[in-house]
Symmetry: D2
């Protein structure tokens, strides 16, 4: 899978002159969208099936600040999955430095209720499974 | 109608240390939502009728910067209306200074097509009309 | 300490019709700013000393979605602190439901280097310490 | 000059399923940053001279909605300039449709006071001037 790149925008920087910490959660979403596109199962493809994938949890460890025009390279790895839930790890680097480690967990819902992805979208499930990091 | 108050958040300020100019467009929306609530025709009441009200145009003239924790007082006035369109003026003040003059224009759509508000939502139309500034 | 209240804005909701998950990180900042104000040590007071307080890590567990106009009540508790670091827990409720559990960790820097808060801002340190939850 | 491209992000779409109108003001900034980079006078180059360039006014006319994953192509033209002020027009297209017409006006400040750009940054002034649309 290709690494996703986000160039920090002027409006993403705060009074301290650095990228506001809340924006990394958005960069994680951008990278996840791109990763699922590369997998062949984009958000809009899943949503067209009336299945939505809410975020259950997120976390970020900030290692080094970034600022306007920095290119953040985001490596996405699916770290864990079950029938009901899948999890991603994000490693964000900029100018050769580790800037942020992220994590997110997701489930699937249809008509407001959780669904087993292995049954509802078996192709997607198998595809995700084949990318589980085994390290 | 009561004036709407927005307190500037840390994450709304940019590298120059002032409220990023794009945020005033959001403050205008907040003030408009509040104004329509006071009128008795909130967004969610209109949307429950399957009528949506997209923004046709907006403009802002920035007069004075604001920053973290400033209270911006926003006075909303409906300045113009027809069967298909209505327009608002926004006067934003903070610490006794004029900070921004805004304007927005809106129409109504149902199933993706423009509707005459006077026919589709006559009560709302009459109510809006009674607030037209006559100065 | 008083609970902080955030009313969800129209522009904070996403295509699924619910508050976008990244915004809770901003609500946590708003609640933290308010909590520190109540403590008597607002951001701008600390920043006037040339001391800044970057976020080291954040996490959110999303329990229930919220949407436009929901009032989110945020209870902030300082959960842990040392000379170099302090941590907050956030309990967010809306309409009687638990909607999100948050956590954030912070350090202090001066001229880009970490400082021991107990030495640099002893009054603030003592004040924070007196609020540590002992449950 | 090359056209700037912005791909609409999931978090930029609102409850109506379309790009929230406030975001176009941010896309204009992104396109302006890129245009000035192409000119050889990036924001950070100007800001390194302690000169800042606040936005005096902005406007948008929304012609057609866009949504998640749409590519918005933004053509920037400097439409007007004087010693104290310069103005840009933005034409935004997506999928062969005109989606938004934007306008912004800017001045220059140094130590909080307006400066004549022709005197303070003569090279930048001449460069901008050579791009004035004569149509």
């Amino acid at each position: 899978m290709n690494t996703y790149k986000h160039e920090v925008k002027y409006y993403e920087c705060d009074r301290m002159g650095v990228t506001h910490h809340s924006n990394y959660v958005r960069f994680m979403e951008e990278a996840r969208v791109d990763w699922l596109d590369q997998l062949g199962f984009g958000f809009e493809k899943i949503e067209a099936e009336n299945v939505f994938s809410p975020v259950i949890s997120i976390s970020c460890e900030y290692k080094h600040p970034t600022t306007f025009k920095d290119i953040i390279e985001i490596e996405v790895k699916i770290s864990k999955m079950s029938e009901m839930k899948f999890e991603f790890d994000y490693t964000m680097r900029s100018n050769g430095k580790l800037v942020c480690l992220g994590h997110s967990a997701h489930c699937f819902i249809e008509n407001g209720r959780p669904v087993a992805i292995s049954k509802r979208l078996p192709d997607f499930y198998q595809s995700l499974k084949s990318y589980i990091s085994v390290e």
